[in-house]
Assembly symmetry: C2
Homo-oligomer: 362 residues x 2
Amino acid sequence: MTSTLLPPLHPLATGLTADSPLIAALEGREPAHRPIWFMRQAGRSLPEYRAARVDSTMLDACFTPELAAEITLQPVRRYGVDAGIFYSDIVVPLRAAGVDVDIAPGIGPVFGKAVTSLADVEQLPDLGEEGDGGAYDSALEPIRRAVGLTVAELGGTPLIGFAGAPFTLAAYMVEGKPSRDHLAARELMYKDPDAWEALVDWTAALAGRFMRAQVLAGASAVQLFDSWAGALSERDYQEHCAGGSARALGAVADLGVPRIHFATSAGHLLPALAQAGATAVGIDYRTPLDQAAGILPDVALQGNINPALLAAPADVLEAHVQDVLTRGAVAHGHVANLGHGMPPHADPEVVTRVVEYVHEHG
Amino acid sequence: MTSTLLPPLHPLATGLTADSPLIAALEGREPAHRPIWFMRQAGRSLPEYRAARVDSTMLDACFTPELAAEITLQPVRRYGVDAGIFYSDIVVPLRAAGVDVDIAPGIGPVFGKAVTSLADVEQLPDLGEEGDGGAYDSALEPIRRAVGLTVAELGGTPLIGFAGAPFTLAAYMVEGKPSRDHLAARELMYKDPDAWEALVDWTAALAGRFMRAQVLAGASAVQLFDSWAGALSERDYQEHCAGGSARALGAVADLGVPRIHFATSAGHLLPALAQAGATAVGIDYRTPLDQAAGILPDVALQGNINPALLAAPADVLEAHVQDVLTRGAVAHGHVANLGHGMPPHADPEVVTRVVEYVHEHG
């Protein structure tokens, strides 16, 4: 089953995670139980995470293989969730490529220089090619090592690789910092479509290579996370962004892994998210899963417990989780998750009860 | 036509603005031409606004009748738009009621104290009753005077009164400051529904009285602006917020004025927005107007030029405006507008051309 023409076989192909509930559900097969994991499960809501991070910045932790692996594993150990999500941040591949970006505490990504013209795009670092030993390829080595350490521990539990989508990366770069409405990026699409297209080409290659490195190192699935795509009209998205996401997801298509595509506040973009080459679509808490399944009958769905309900009385939360399970049951495949990231102040005891409930009743 | 049992007759009833293009379109009648105005037309994009505001904070300007009237009139003079929108801010009624709130430049509303419990709600200022000469009623006097000065200048051009919706006001108060996801407010709905309901009751009364004061002083229509409702699932909105908006809009229903209800990123809430007692629904730039008209065949629609396109080449912008006019023509009534607020850096020359195009081709 090996070939000198193909990359090293993926764990999925080796069977280690192929029949896990996560992969079965993502492929539309019957899982042993309803799988569940949580976006941002590795992070601030866990006391063991806060302890592990105490001496390092977030970006330093992302580039320290032992620490990134440990943080990725923490919620799998504590909660018994059905997948690890690789501990990273959407700016990690940018930093790896040599872009001047940092995460300012309480603010978010802040860039040394905003990208607002074709000349700016042309000055972005050359990404080279996979395995060329160039700057980007070499800078991804700690990521590969972290993934390797993680999957060795996870065994039959799949690891999900992660990247920010080309539009979201580009939106941050055009603004140079977080923005509420991403207007500068949305303007650039129309004001200077050549600059915009070149930027999305670059971020698509960056994100695709980043996901591919994680899969080649052992991740069994990927999630492309488009934080801000919901700010776009369907026309904006289809004409100026969908192609980039399709290229990023296409970078791992030959590796045969399930490809989850997620955007928040994007009920109007669901068909477009699927058409960009996803095999599963993440649904935020605003769109009921049965309604999403009606729109997307042929892909697996992921979601969509309302994170606000984690603060509700136990019976109210339980009724909501059951409602999500019931609605999700009509999908082509369903992976339970939150409909947005884990709140930093979420109570781990409550999260544990959600996992138990889903495994028992899902 | 006067009665001692009724409030002073509304300008609409007197006929001064009744046949204006705006009111005709909002009532589903045939307007003389397609009306247009812009959300945030009175504001930072105008050099005459920046000059007028140079010596005062935004909140001071809102409470200075001559200045608020002047700022409201500026875009009507410059652009020849079909309505004035009363220059205000969603925190103005909060400040009038005596809540400790300020607008921090570059940040937004910041409160002396967040409202997070029923006890906090019970400590909010008593709003009294309309015309009781109490603290809130008296503090609205500069608002009434500003409206009176404005409508005297506007003549047959209608003035639209304005208030922030109960949910958006409550969301700010629970967070105590701007928030990206309004999670604290969304949690409070489920964690302490009594506190939440009491808070929305209070903000609904506040917003309703604020709109009513503007209408009684001469405004011909109102817009209730729910900046953050799009962050809610339909269930969140229907169970915990829609009632408050209905009470706020209900406060002016007996005055016979058109009631526009607008929320951004709220394609999933359009039926709920209409059902809350609106006679027109504002559509943001993400939902095509013909699609919105299919969902809401019985109310007028307002919108939805994509603000990002104001930065596009003239021919691209013109094609987009024409597309909006064509799609809007199938609605029960159509008022052209942006699908979000005017960008602070919008070029007034470009805005002028949009108004001319709509008046010529609408």
